[in-house]
């Protein structure tokens, strides 16, 4: 079974987001880029499965749709254990374009299982995984919190709004993962970092894909009003305010 983990590259989650003066795009100077946290967990789980004795997983690769500046972050995925990486060299404007480029890689390289994250920590699109599945005409499962693989089936847990389902499915399929899939992401070892340099990071040229949406402007949220402090000896005051000022009780 060949697994492809789709990876977006996002600002570190503690970054204070700023925009260029025209508010049309993000100010990227000084930003520390990381693997999207969900994708990092997906990769962790895929590697765990591949490393089990008698594993049916023969290959775990990562793919990123984006420009060359993402290569150092992709290297990290190789350093923690991915076998190879693909990068399609295009600055995609929206989820539809990303999914379209991804579908080409999946088809050409014959992957059986594709894993995407719940959302990208930047634009929080929550779109790519299911779009990709539809483009490929594959089965897909979202909100996946647990995943294991057998000979020609996978067992997954899917979190629906009010229930958890255990499902047996058959590749090819796309999984969109959420929390629970793996606990902590791996930290690359020195050996891993050295080894990553000799692993393939293939740059592919994009196919023609049209987008249907794009960000045209950004806005900072309105500054929050100051917190009103209440005497800890007098929680009645809080209750009073919640009822009569905020109208939420």
């Amino acid at each position: 079974m060949k697994i492809l983990v789709c990876m977006s590259v996002v600002p570190d989650t503690t970054t204070q987001i700023r925009f260029k003066p025209d508010m049309n795009s993000m100010e990227t100077t000084g930003i520390q880029w990381i693997i999207n946290p969900w994708d990092e967990l997906a990769l962790t789980r895929a590697l765990e499965i591949r490393e089990q004795p008698d594993s049916v997983v023969t290959q775990v690769s990562v793919v990123h749709i984006g420009l060359k500046d993402a290569d150092p972050v992709i290297q990290k995925a190789l350093a923690v254990g991915a076998d190879s990486a693909y990068r399609v060299n295009v600055a995609a404007a929206g989820a539809m374009e990303v999914a379209c480029q991804l579908s080409e890689v999946v088809k050409k390289e014959h992957f059986d299982l594709v894993i995407t994250g719940h959302d990208s920590a930047d634009y929080n699109g929550s779109a790519v995984g299911e779009m990709l599945a539809e483009l490929l005409d594959w089965t897909s499962f979202s909100s996946i919190s647990s995943f294991s693989a057998a000979r020609d089936s996978i067992t997954i847990e899917r979190e629906m709004d009010s229930r958890t389902e255990t499902i047996i499915a058959h590749p090819p399929c796309v999984l969109t993962i959420q929390k629970g899939i793996a606990k902590d992401p791996r930290i690359p070892s020195l050996r891993g970092i050295m080894g990553a340099r000799s692993k393939p990071l293939l740059q592919l040229e994009p196919i023609p894909c049209t987008g249907t949406s794009a960000y045209v402007k950004f806005e900072n949220p309105a500054p929050r009003s100051k917190c009103r402090m209440i005497d800890p000896a007098n929680p009645e005051e809080l209750v009073e305010l919640l009822r009569n000022e905020a109208n939420v009780l």
Partner: protein, 323 residues
Amino acid sequence: MSVLIYANHDAGKFSKSVLELASYAFALANQTGGQVTALVTGNPAGSELDKLGKYGVAKILLTPEPGGRAFDNRAYAAFMASAAQASGASCVLFSDGSISRAVAPRVAVRLQAGYVAGVIGLPDSIEPFKIRRSVFTGKAYGFVEITSPVKVMILARNSWQIAENPVTCTVENFVPEIAVPAAGFEVVKVEEQTGAIRLQDAEVVVSGGRGLKSGDNWKILEELAGSLGAAMACSRPVADEGWRPHQEHVGQTGKVIAPNLYFACGISGAIQHIGGISSSRVIVAINKDPEAPIFQFARYGIVGDLFQVLPVLTQAIKKLKSE
């Protein structure tokens, strides 16, 4: 523009978020001189269907459950896309939830439509179509321009006020003429989450962090939640430690919620935590550290030891509720 909504229901009952969605769809259709159609699957009672008319839905397309017993997002997407075509909708709307997240992006591909999740208000302009959403996990807003004739959108939770707009509502049976591929998977076990108030739907949420010190101390929080009829939540380390179940973890890597009232007790307010709760209408923080970042996001704060503050607060709320 004509608007199609997916009106999902839980065992025949429409939730508050569907009524929010219908109210939003009515406002959107009204702004542009169209009407609202709803796709309803399965067989809810007539009295429930009437509710949709009360909130502005002019036509209901009633369809058998797509794809058999287990939820099959491919089948749902095929049905929804074909309902969009049948009703001539240029805007296809979903309320937020696990079904919508699994279906809506597929519908967008089928209809070659632009897709936006997390919509928080009406479009800024219709021609060109521009709409605002929250990005960077609540740290900013972005304006998305959609260039395709059809748009598929998911309305963020708790972002639109329910409003009655009674219209005459007709019900039509709808059986799309499409081939739906066999599901090709098997649900072997289902664990229903029963009893407790669902976190995503809760109006009031009581949440605890590492400040509670151990998994044995949650009774005071449960009592506060009990007095408020609130759902329980927690920060990530609390779930990681196994003090509380993972379903309660909120934040960037947990659930994103938007209740009317959120109590953060013994939670420092890390940016990844805020990402999951920043759309709450009112945040109350209880923390012994006056410098805790949570106070920058809270509307009301109490600096103090939660083990002393919470029991007194619970009493005060009980007293108010019994009046």
